[in-house]
Every structure is written in C-alpha cells, then in structure tokens.
C-alpha cells in the first residue's frame, strides 16, 4: 500500500458547530483537504469528495442517497452506542466511524479506511454489473453458436471456436460479437 494522500480533496462535515468539530476541521485541513461544515442537507448535485456526517443527530434526507448508492466515501461521527444510530450510519453508506469525543489520532485512519471501503465497494459493484450483463447475454451467445453451426454445417464446438476467434480478432467480447452477428442475420433475412 502506498502512502494515502488527501491533498486537494473537498470534505463536507454535516454537523452542528462545536469545539470538537472545529478541531476535526483543523485536522482535516492539516491533511490537505478543503473543508466545509454545515448542519443542512447536502444537495444532490453538490461536488464533494468525502462526507463526514453526524450519526447521532442525522436524519433521513440529510444525505441525498441511500447506502450502497453513496457516490463518495462517508465517515460517521458517532458518540452513541444505540443500534438504531449505527444502523443509520450504515444506511448512509458509512465506511468508517470516528468516535466522539473526537481523538485527533482517529481522523487520518478513518479517512483511509472510508476511502478503501468505498473503492472496494465500487470495484465489487462494477464486477457484479459486468458479470450480470454477461449472464443476460448468454442466450444470445447460444443462438449465435447455433446459427454458425447451421450456416457452416459444423458442430457446436467448432462454431463456438469460430465465434471466439472472431471476438479476439475484433477485440470485442464474445457477447458483443454474438449480438452483432445475430443483428446482421436479422437484417439480411
């Protein structure tokens, strides 16, 4: 792991102003972030790179997203042990927690962890989306193999090899080539 660096990122703290939160803001600035603090909902179009939110007082609608869809890393600021509050933090997509009262040494690790969790979730989501798409297109691949087998009077194995070679030559996925082929046959037929 290379050394995490947060220089130039924009952090939004959603929390009422108090001494501890001022100290948090100073610590974030020391880490090179631009910091904006307020106690009002975050707009859906607002640009920011990381959100630190009061999980003790936060309400639904404070953040314009639900858990898994959080478009940026989220850190929960939490003093309570109440399960409902922890659940709320999870629902907002929190990847890490900074316990209140805030110890200065807890800020940097929480940022690193929240960013890591965020990246990991994004990678998993992308991977699942890719796999789901391929799963959906398996029918098309099968139809294309059958069509090739009929047209060239070869077995299914040979037809599949032919399809795969075409995909490799054109640097496309098997599913894309299959969809192309079926579309052209339909046009021609």
């Amino acid at each position: 792991m290379s050394t995490p660096n947060f220089v130039g990122l924009r952090a939004v703290i959603l929390h009422r102003a108090d001494e501890g939160i001022e100290r948090l803001a100073r610590q974030l600035r020391r880490l090179g972030l631009d910091v904006d603090r307020r106690w009002a909902p975050l707009g859906p179009q607002e640009q920011c790179d990381i959100v630190l939110v009061d999980a003790d007082q936060g309400w639904g609608g404070l953040l314009p997203w639900a858990g898994a869809d959080a478009p940026v890393p989220v850190v929960a600021l939490l003093g309570s042990e109440a399960p409902g509050r922890i659940a709320w933090a999870i629902e907002q997509g929190a990847g890490s927690i900074i316990a209140k009262p805030i110890a200065q040494a807890s800020v940097y690790p929480a940022l690193v962890l929240a960013l890591h969790v965020f990246e990991e979730r994004r990678a998993t989501r992308d991977q699942i989306a890719g796999m789901s798409a391929r799963l959906r297109l398996r029918g098309i691949v099968h139809q294309a193999v059958e069509a090739i087998a009929r047209a060239h009077e070869v077995g299914e194995d040979a037809a599949f090899r032919r399809l795969r070679e075409t995909a490799m030559q054109r640097r496309m996925t098997l599913e894309q080539v299959a969809a192309d082929l079926l579309a052209r046959r339909k046009d021609a037929g």
């Binding site: 130039g8 100290r23 200065q104």
Partner: protein, 376 residues
C-alpha cells in the same frame, strides 16, 4: 508571573533506553538552572518509568492531575508517545516531544521539536542513493518506528528506481543477529538502513565491523550502515571503534561548529564536564524546556492553547539555530545534518542543510501525485 512554572519531565533513565532519558533529563535540568538564574522560576517535576512501557501513562496522569503540570517534556519511543497522547488530549495538556520520529501525526496537544521523515529520511536518501547505490537492506525494530521508517524507505527506493534486497525486523532488545548478518553478506546491498534501536543496534554495528574485517565490501566507505537515531550518548555502548565510519542523520550534533553551539557547549561543559559529548536528546530537551518556559512567560499563563499560540509562528534562537514552529502542524523546522562516527567517539558532520519545514503527512514532499492514492 510569580508562581513557579511547573514542567513535567517524563523519561526513563534506566532500562534499555536509559541513555536517551539520562541525556534528556540532564538537558532539561541545565535549561531549568539557567532559566532560574535569569529570574524565571521554573520547577521540574521529574517522573521516571524506569524502562517500563506500562508506567508512562500512569506517571503522565500523575503529572497532569496531581502535580499541577500542564506541560510535559518527555517520552522517547513513539510507542510511549502514542500511549500518553490521548491522556494529554483529555487533560488538555501539552506534550513537548523532542525525538526523531516516523511522522504521520500532528496532534494539537503536542509540540514536535524532533525531526520527521521529510527532515531526516528523505534528505538522507537524497544524499545516499547517488553516492552508494539504490540496493538497500532495511532493518527495523519491531514496533511503529521500524515498521513505518522501512515502509517509507521502500516507497522512496521504488520511486527512485531502486530496490529493497532484504528487510528484517528484530524484537526490541533482541541481540541475536548472526543470521541477519549472514543474509546481508549474501545479498550485498549498497547500504543498510538501520532502524534498530538500543542494544539490537549496538550488537548489529559490532557484527558489521567484524564482517568488514573479513570482507572489505562491507567497509563503511563502501556499504555504510545508516541510522536516523544513533547519537553521541550511545556510542559508548558499542564495542570500541566498531562503529567508526558509519553514518547517522540528526538535527543536532555535539561537534557542530556554529556560534550557537560553541556557546551552548561551554555552558553544558561547565555543568557536566568538558569530556562529555552532548547528543540531540540533551540539546533537544534543553531547547524544549527553554521554549516552553519562555512561551509560558510570554503568554502570561500556562494554559496550553495560549502557550501554543505564543510558541508557534515565530522564529526562536536555539542551539540548533533559528527555529520556527509551524502553527498548523506544531512541528519545528529543523536543519538536516549527516554525521560520520569518528575514532574519538563523536561525529564528524559531513553534510548540512538549512532548516526544512516539517511535512509530517508528506503532503508535498514526494512528487506531484497530489491526488488520491489509496490502496492498490
């Protein structure tokens, strides 16, 4: 201000790292005596954990809560600083930390007057790599100092197109180093970064000296052992002559030939004898006690926020030369010196750079890749 200024001194003067603590305490006492002569009523409250890591927290609590000290000069190892930091924060005290450390910390309740990596490791590598080569063997004590210093060293080497030919961690106070030396001999690195501490470090340096006697490829002028925390106060613990020619980085050496240091040495020698060599722990604790007392006087209170305001943002004349403490990071700008151990038990200063502002989180020190770089 008539009430005495109470400053806690928290060092172990016995145990494996007692040398650091004795130097630091002596430096602190010299400063207090001098301040009293100048009419500043400083009282030191001495606490000595005697080398037991677990006693730092209870003694720090005693200083803060029962002894009326809002300021503590102390802790040598990063592990103990990290242990006491939450307590200092909770009691809103101020810890004055004088030792070299591994960075990645900027606590508002700590003033850091020892160097962090952009003030020791980075300028050290700037100097070493072109001269000796980029194949390094990394050695570390098995705790946060060794781990983090070696991690950064690896990053720096890879960025420079170099390599790590071996990396080993030894338990604190381990002195069985035979296997390690055999491995170094087999790997033939360009240099060895030594982040061992105390007895492990002394045993290692002695073993490297024996190796160099057998194999000239390991003489210090060919393959140096380089440390960031080996000082004058420890040279006496190493077998006589064994470490001669090896290198160490520091922000202060006894042998610095500057007007400030000549005056300081005269003062220290009058109190502790002309034969003694004073390390960065001695000068560092002296400086910290002076800065702390002067800031309390300037602020008119020992309230930490006021003292912090008084000590940061301006230039202080110190033994290390002009010193500015950054109001944002609470770290001192410090000069970089590279010393070569000589046969007289001191260091010849062979490279010096003017004060470098501390960058504890390495925000700007390493390249322009100043965007998100997390976990691959």
């Amino acid at each position: 201000m008539d009430a005495p200024l109470r400053i806690g001194i928290l060092y172990s003067t016995t145990g494996a790292y007692g040398a650091f603590g004795r130097e630091s305490r002596d430096g602190a006492e010299l400063a207090a005596e001098e301040l009293r002569r100048e009419g500043v009523p400083v009282e030191l409250a001495i606490a000595d954990p005697e080398g037991e890591a677990g006693r730092y927290v209870s003694l720090a609590r005693e200083l803060l809560r029962d002894k009326g000290c809002r300021h503590i000069v102390g802790t040598a190892l990063s592990a103990t600083r990290k242990d006491v930091a939450p307590l200092i924060e909770k009691h809103d005290g101020l810890l004055w930390y004088i030792c070299p450390y591994e960075g990645f910390e900027a606590n508002e309740n700590i003033i850091y007057t020892g160097p962090c990596p952009n003030q020791h490791l980075i300028p050290l590598f700037d100097h070493l790599l072109p001269l000796y080569g980029k194949r390094a063997f990394l050695l570390g004590a098995n705790y946060v100092w060794g781990w983090e210093m070696n991690r950064l060293a690896r990053d720096l080497l890879l960025e420079a197109g170099g390599s790590v030919v071996g990396e080993r961690f030894l338990p604190i106070e381990e002195t069985e180093i035979g296997r390690l030396v055999a491995e170094i001999r087999a790997q033939r690195p360009s240099f060895i970064l030594n982040n061992l501490i105390g007895p492990s470090s002394y045993a290692f340096l002695a073993a490297m000296s024996a190796l160099a006697a057998e194999d000239p490829a390991f003489r210090p002028e060919v393959c140096p052992v380089v440390s960031c925390d080996l000082t004058e106060c420890e040279l006496g613990e190493i077998a006589p002559g064994a470490a001669v020619g090896q290198l160490s980085a520091a922000s202060y050496f006894d042998s610095l030939d500057t007007p400030e240091n000549r005056a300081f040495r005269a003062l220290a020698a009058a109190r502790f004898g002309a034969d003694r060599r004073f390390s960065t722990f001695f000068s560092g604790a002296y400086t910290a006690v002076r800065l702390c007392a002067e800031a309390i006087v300037a602020a008119g209170t020992d309230e930490p926020a006021e003292v912090r305001r008084a000590v940061t943002g301006k230039v202080h004349q110190t033994v290390q030369g002009p010193m500015r403490i950054d109001p944002r990071t609470h770290h001192a700008a410090l000069p970089f010196h590279l010393g070569r151990i000589n046969a007289e038990g001191g260091f010849d200063v062979i490279v010096s750079r003017p004060p470098i502002a501390a960058d504890p989180y390495l925000l700007g020190a390493r390249g322009a890749a100043a965007h998100l770089r997390v976990v691959s």
